[in-house]
């Protein structure tokens, strides 16, 4: 069972979520502040971070940025619906997914599993290493390099890239990507996709010019290539 670090300032939510997840067999460590959470991160070595955005002192977005500077730990934000602005900021800071509070433990667990799940290989007979222009994607080792330099991709970014690259030049609607990459419903928040595409482009595309690898088809969605 995955090890989950929960950073949440409200004691009842912290205790409730910790209790609910522990009952489902997760190894949960809870922290009340961002600072305490960063300390616990080093010693607890979790598989996933559940991060409340509204924290006293160092807020969730800052915690998210700090974590991303060092690692590609899966991060799920806990947010209140309606705090739309926070959601966007959190996604831009590198969070992989978000959960709207209040949420039942089965919902939280489903999100955790989805973020941690490795993508299917998408069929056999595919070479383990694919080369697209300057990008080299190693599906077995789950690494991506650009011009020989390894890229640090967050889990959602890596899954999105693998999904798009598995079918080059095929257009995926944002709803389809939500279902396949995030395992959300068709009707979930498409900003997840847009934010993740923006982050991914920041890492794999050339800084100037229009995107080559992840292209937008206005009104339809995204596709990989053509190069």
């Amino acid at each position: 069972m995955p090890r989950v670090l929960l950073i949440e300032d409200d004691p009842s939510v912290r205790e409730g979520v910790e209790l609910g997840l522990r009952r489902r067999g997760h190894d949960v460590r809870a922290a009340a502040t961002g600072e305490a959470g960063l300390v616990a991160l080093a010693e607890f070595r979790p598989d996933l971070l559940l991060l409340d955005l509204m924290l006293p002192g160092m807020n969730g977005v800052q915690v998210c940025r700090q974590v991303r500077e060092r690692s590609q730990l899966p991060i799920i934000m806990l947010t209140a619906r309606g705090d739309d602005f926070d959601v966007v900021i959190g996604l831009e800071a590198g969070a992989d997914d978000y959960i709207v509070k209040p949420a039942r433990p089965e919902v939280i667990e489903a999100r955790i599993r989805a973020v941690l799940r490795r993508l299917d290989d998408g069929g056999t007979g595919r070479p383990a290493i694919e080369v697209y222009g300057e990008l080299t994607i190693d599906r077995a080792g789950l690494t991506v390099t650009k011009a020989g330099r390894p890229l640090a991709l967050a889990p959602s970014e890596l899954k999105l890239l693998l999904h798009l690259a598995a079918a080059p030049e095929q257009v995926f609607s944002r709803q389809q990507l939500l279902e396949h990459v995030w395992e959300h419903s068709f009707h979930a928040d498409a900003r997840l996709v847009d934010a993740c595409v923006a982050r991914l482009r920041g890492k794999i595309e050339d800084t100037d010019g229009s995107p080559r690898y992840v292209q937008t088809l206005r009104g339809f969605g995204y596709r990989f290539g053509p190069l």
Binding site: S12, G20, R104, G219
Partner: protein, 500 residues
């Protein structure tokens, strides 16, 4: 559509204030100019004509008296005498006629004048018989458009210094009054030529007066329009102390009062909304903790270690916590609409696919649901909100109506405005009672008064309505003739706008 605002440009209206003021000014100017001209004309005309006819009558009488007439009258000699008199016509030449018994003589070509009227003849004869009017009589006649002065002068014998006897000879003088007529016409022309510029000049003060009245009126209208469009801080500059200034002052005071009242109302409303929003926010945090442990409660209630009452209580708390979470979530959603904080995250989607996903996610895939979903319909929608709309309507139809429920998708091209996407949700229940129809979208409205609580929060249809409105659409509830409720959602199908 609400009443469209009229353009602010002043327009010329058929019988507007400006037209009426101008007409009134012109009427006054025309009446005064006309009256003055008419009086002047009459006096001057009379003076002119009287001078002419007095001169003529006096001169004719003098000529007749100076001339001796040998009686009985002979035509030959008479004509010479008449021509003699005719030469001395004053102020204009005249033609002289003489009538004596059956003898008709004139100085002109015709022995009898066509201008002399029977009345003149009669009065001359009468005067001749009685001798009552030896000074003669005259008459102005217009024949064929030419004015004439006709003078009748009976000749008399002087029997004594005080009495005369008529001789029976009557002399007539006929004189054209063309010159006088010309003079009178000139007067008329002068009157007209004076009146028309007068009227034109009267237009200037009329326009000035109209402007001075109309400008405040126009300002007032513009200000009222501004107020109507919601700019309640509109005020009019008050100038002068006339009635229009009073009106402007009253307008300003009313506007200030209105602004104050509206501000107070808005503040009260905002406070109420903020309160509802704050309450739901505050409820959400404890709920997040409670909802996270309902599973623990449920498992505990299933264990044999608890006594029956405790287990029932635990299950109750767990179930109600779930309902409370839904209610709070719906309250939050509705307060976001109230605060206009609800955002439309629109995306172009395949509508049939979206509806199928909505039904599939809720396991409404059995024969309770029938679908008529044409493929290939794309629309710009907020997928999450559209999901809420369809799920609420279908859930509502299953709960309060009856299976089977039909979900029908169609598009309709409108003559005006964009094409619309129409989604009908039709159930097979008894329908909605007519008295409930107007309230069906009200918050916490219960169509069945006996049922105090339903599975939903009571906000489902209100949230549905708000979500549809956020898409710029409309929703109608009604009943089919054969029974069963129909909810029709219409959303503009502006895919072209999304692509641009």
């Amino acid at each position: 559509m609400t009443g469209g605002s009229r353009p602010g440009r002043p327009r010329i209206r058929a019988f507007g204030l400006r037209t009426r003021l101008l007409l009134a000014f012109l009427l006054v100017a025309a009446v005064s100019a006309g009256t003055t001209a008419a009086l002047t004309y009459r006096e001057a005309r009379n003076a002119l004509l009287e001078t002419a006819q007095d001169t003529a009558v006096a001169h004719f009488r003098e000529q007749v008296q100076l001339t001796g007439f040998g009686l009985p009258v002979g035509e030959e000699g008479m004509q010479d005498v008449l021509r003699d008199i005719a030469r001395k016509g004053k102020p204009h030449p005249w033609v002289v006629f003489a009538e004596y018994g059956s003898i008709r003589v004139s100085s002109g070509e015709h022995p009898v004048s066509t201008v002399i009227t029977p009345e003149l003849r009669r009065s001359a004869r009468a005067a001749g018989v009685t001798g009552a009017n030896p000074h003669g009589s005259f008459e102005r006649v217009v024949k064929d458009g030419v004015p004439y002065l006709t003078i009748a002068m009976p000749t008399v014998f002087k029997t004594s210094p005080d009495s005369v006897l008529p001789t029976g000879l009557v002399l007539y003088a006929v004189m054209r009054l063309t010159d006088e007529e010309l003079n009178v016409d000139a007067l008329l022309m002068a009157g007209r030529d004076g009146a028309l510029p007068g009227l034109a000049v009267a237009l200037v003060p009329a326009l000035v007066a109209a402007r001075s009245v109309l400008r405040p009126v126009r300002k007032l209208r513009e200000a009222a329009q501004h107020m109507g469009s919601g700019r309640l801080d509109t005020r009019i500059p008050v100038r002068g102390s006339d009635e229009l200034a009073d009106l402007a002052r009253t307008f300003n005071e009313t506007a200030a009062q209105l602004e104050r009242s509206v501000r107070e109302l808005r503040e009260a409303e905002a406070r109420a909304r903020r309160f509802a929003s704050d309450v739901s926010h505050e409820l959400r945090t404890p709920l997040a903790g409670m909802l996270a442990v309902t599973e623990v409660l449920d498992e505990g209630a299933d264990d044999d270690g608890l006594d029956a009452d405790t287990a029932r209580a635990v299950r109750l708390v767990s179930a109600e916590t779930g309902k409370l979470a839904v209610l709070v979530e719906d309250l939050m959603e509705i307060s976001r609409f109230d605060a206009r904080a609800a955002e439309l995250n629109a995306d172009e989607v395949d509508v049939a696919e979206a509806i199928r996903k909505t039904l599939g996610n809720r396991h409404w895939t059995d024969d309770r649901i029938r679908t008529e979903l044409p493929e290939g319909v794309r629309a710009r929608l907020d997928p999450r909100r559209f999901d809420v709309v369809i799920a609420n309507l279908v859930g509502n139809a299953l709960r309060h109506g009856g299976a089977p429920v039909t979900v029908r998708l169609r598009t309709e091209t409108r003559a005006q405005g964009p094409s619309v996407l129409i989604t009908d949700v039709v159930d097979s229940g008894p329908g909605i009672r007519p008295e409930s129809l107007p309230h069906i979208f009200d918050r916490f409205y219960k169509a069945d008064a006996a049922r105090t609580r339903s599975a939903g929060s009571g906000l489902g249809l209100a949230i549905t309505l708000e979500n549809v409105k956020l898409h710029g659409g409309t929703i109608h509830a009604g009943n089919r003739p054969g029974g069963g409720a129909v909810f029709a959602v219409e959303i503009p199908l502006n895919v072209e706008g999304a692509a641009g």
